[in-house]
């Protein structure tokens, strides 16, 4: 046993790869619908007046955010965990029946959760808190699924052969702990049915916190849900997949170390930047601003570490679409983690808050960084878990360029839209009265909403190419030997 290479068991990883692809398409399809609805409101009734209740912008928006976060991204996190975890801990899931069972349970419970979430959001069952919309029965299921994942992580670590934890593992552990803590506290709510002795709907609840306090807890959660959902686990991915795919050693352990602990320490303080000029005390807002600026450094630390890992390897960047995805992802990561802090400066936020500039920031992070990185990870995993060559390199290249164009159209249009809108809201005319009625500030955005919708549609087209390429890889890619799978992934023409 010790002398043969380990046979890693990717059963669970494959299952989550499937949900990553499917939920990615669903979530982004809904996003594309939203984008067209903002450009052309007639799209709200695209399925007819009768179904407008379920297809209009406001009902679909939480579905988009939750599908891409808890569906696409979280599936991606799980899928990569079930792959990376085994490999860097040097232990196979097949070695423990218990962990295998947990892993499958994890998947099936997760899938049931997805169904419950989609159904409830379409019916308008929501608590309204952003990225924490679920009512208490779903919250409980989320906690169960999360705890199972935790058992899985620590179980696997418990039987590991590699004594020392690789950087990616640090980040997966942090993801687990961070989300667990945040989710629990932000979802403290009292089911009214039980508290009132059986009146009304059974699933309704009321928040434990009110007003300003509720806002504080929500944005401590909301900001860090971004941290531990869109940053920490994605950094875990890049620390494994970029060096692995390129065959390069990580540039600097010290930089990894400082960036990790710096990120852990600084991120949690910055949530106040979602509440600038609100009714939370001035000092907390200021703290949010100040720590956001400091946060640039630990964020850029990881990105720079990855870019420097590619030092001298330009020919790989130029020739491999897989590496291109990852290098561009680091670039967008740097862009959004400088953009965020700039938007967190009080005077800038005074203009940017509530506008589309924030939406632009959200999507250069999620489309350019999160989604690119998840897709790159899946591309790297595919030949290894299916023992087949990636079906088509040229399709991958096409996808890369289409989606890059999509992201660029998305964030540049929202950049203009946000700044324009922010300045129009503030403008006073020569008499000292407001210069624009609200609807003026809406109508002016029409061209940008349209451009964004086009960009989003391109990105979605890329998603379909991705799904197709993965499907073909799985079913008809050329079979490959273990020896071809050391570094650069084998790709068909």
């Amino acid at each position: 046993m010790e002398n043969r290479p380990l046979e890693y068991d990717y059963t669970v990883a494959k299952m989550f790869m499937l949900t990553t692809v499917v939920l990615g398409i669903v979530g982004m399809l809904v996003g594309v619908i939203l984008a067209w609805e903002m450009a052309f409101p007639a799209v709200n009734t695209i399925a007819g007046q009768g179904l407008a209740e379920y297809t209009n912008f406001s009902r679909l928006r939480p579905l988009h955010t939750d599908a891409v976060i808890f569906g696409f991204t979280v599936s991606g996190i799980f899928a990569t965990w079930y792959y990376v975890g085994q490999r860097v801990l040097k232990v196979s899931m097949a070695e423990s029946k218990f962990l295998m069972f947990l892993g499958k349970l994890h998947f099936w419970l997760y899938l049931m959760l997805v169904v419950a979430v989609v159904g409830s959001l379409l019916l308008g069952i929501t608590t309204s808190k952003e990225y924490a919309e679920f009512e208490w029965p779903i919250d409980i299921a989320v906690v169960v699924v999360w705890v199972i994942w935790g058992l899985q992580i620590f179980g696997l670590i418990g039987i590991r052969r590699e004594k020392s934890l690789y950087i990616s593992i640090w980040y997966y552990i942090a993801t687990f702990l961070g989300i667990a803590m945040l989710y629990l506290f932000n979802n403290m709510e009292i089911p009214t049915y039980f508290a009132s002795g059986g009146i009304g709907s059974w699933y309704h609840s009321v928040s434990m916190y009110s007003g300003t306090n509720d806002a504080l807890v929500q944005w401590w959660y909301g900001h860090n849900a971004v941290a531990f959902g869109f940053t920490v686990p994605i950094v875990a991915m890049i620390y494994y997949f970029l060096p692995k795919e390129s065959g390069q050693a990580v540039y600097s352990y010290k930089l990894s170390l400082l960036a990790f602990w710096g990120l852990m320490f600084v991120y949690l303080w910055a949530g106040g930047h979602h509440l600038l000029f609100s009714t939370v005390p001035d000092w907390m807002q200021t703290m949010g601003s100040v720590f956001s600026v400091v946060l640039i450094l630990p964020s850029w630390g990881s990105a720079i570490n990855m870019l420097l890992t590619m030092k001298g390897e330009w020919q790989q960047v130029a020739s491999s679409p897989l590496i291109k995805f990852m290098v561009l992802a680091s670039t967008f990561y740097m862009f959004s983690t400088l953009e965020g802090p700039i938007q967190a400066i009080k005077s800038v936020n005074a203009l940017a808050h509530f506008t589309d500039w924030i939406v632009g920031h959200v999507h250069d992070g999620t489309l350019g960084w999160v989604a690119f990185m998840i897709m790159a990870s899946l591309f790297h995993m595919a030949p290894r878990v299916f023992k087949r060559e990636i079906y088509s390199k040229s399709l991958m290249n096409t996808q890369f360029w289409i989606q890059t164009l999509g992201v660029v159209l998305y964030f540049t249009s929202m950049w203009i839209a946000g700044i324009t809108q922010g300045m129009m809201w503030r403008a006073h005319d020569e008499f000292g009265n407001l210069a624009y009625s609200f609807i003026d500030t809406v109508s002016v955005l029409h061209p940008y909403f349209t451009i964004r919708a086009v960009g989003g549609t391109l990105y979605l087209v890329g998603m379909f190419l991705f799904a197709y390429n993965m499907y073909k890889t799985m079913t008809s890619g050329r079979r490959v030997e273990e020896s071809e799978l050391q570094n650069a992934s084998p790709m068909g023409a």
Binding site: T212, W220, G272, I439
Partner: protein
């Protein structure tokens, strides 16, 4: 020391947890100590208003509308006095929103009226040409869930001592009492009384008929809620 941690997953996890948890302790707990006290004039929601608030949440109006007027001249000109912490004392959950695709609504009750909302919710472009807000036709047909609103009122009265059936001070020095019925039937009846007042200012015959027949369409509840935002 870090190498040491990297070989000991348990201590590593503890260290991460300590580092990520104390920001929350320092930033959030102090504000709980000075829990938000209602400002003078802030009243708990009536049953119908609360049912309307649930309709607002059900349809994620907060996806496009904020309820937070920031202290800038341009915002107070457009929406009225900047928001105060105490005004949200009875807001569970808070509905500040994070995107203004549409205007702020924190004080919309001051400058819009029942008949306007009726026209606007049925077809926003009929009153505001170029509006990109969806039309909410189904609210004229769906029935509001009064029971759940009542259940929530009971809950918050019991758990958070929200002052139903107690006098609360108003800005003009007088006092008001928001009554809470002592049974579901009572709550339905009082909500219907409120609904009648709203329906009287509306034009949609189906809605008027429904209310006359003892039913409360969602639109009536949400208008009651919007009118309460002052």
């Amino acid at each position: 020391m870090f190498h040491w941690l990297e070989k000991r997953p348990f201590f590593f996890a503890v260290a991460v947890f300590v580092v990520i948890s104390f920001a929350g302790l320092i930033e959030i707990l102090p504000n709980f100590a000075q829990a938000s006290q209602p400002v003078v004039g802030t009243k708990p929601y009536s049953t119908l208003e609360l049912a309307g608030r649930h309709v607002y949440i059900k349809n994620s109006c907060n996806a496009c509308h904020s309820q937070l007027i920031r202290p800038f001249k341009s915002e107070t000109d457009r929406y009225g006095h900047y928001s105060l912490s105490g005004e949200y004392a009875y807001d569970r959950p808070f509905l500040w929103g994070s995107k203004r695709t549409g205007p702020d609504l924190h004080r919309v009750g001051n400058y819009r009226t029942t008949d306007w909302h009726e026209n606007h919710m049925k077809d926003p472009t009929a009153v505001v040409p170029g509006s990109i807000m969806p039309a909410y036709g189904w609210m004229f047909k769906n029935t509001a869930d009064i029971d759940t609103a009542y259940a929530e009122q009971l809950t918050i009265q019991k758990v958070f001592a929200v002052p139903y059936n107690k006098e609360v001070p108003l800005a003009d020095g007088s006092k008001a009492t928001v009554a809470l019925a002592d049974s579901v039937e009572g709550a339905r009846a009082s909500a219907l009384e409120e609904a009648k007042v709203i329906a009287a200012d509306m034009k949609d015959q189906d809605v008027k008929d429904a209310v006359a027949a003892g039913e409360i369409p969602e639109i009536v509840a949400i208008i009651a809620y919007l009118n309460s935002l002052k």
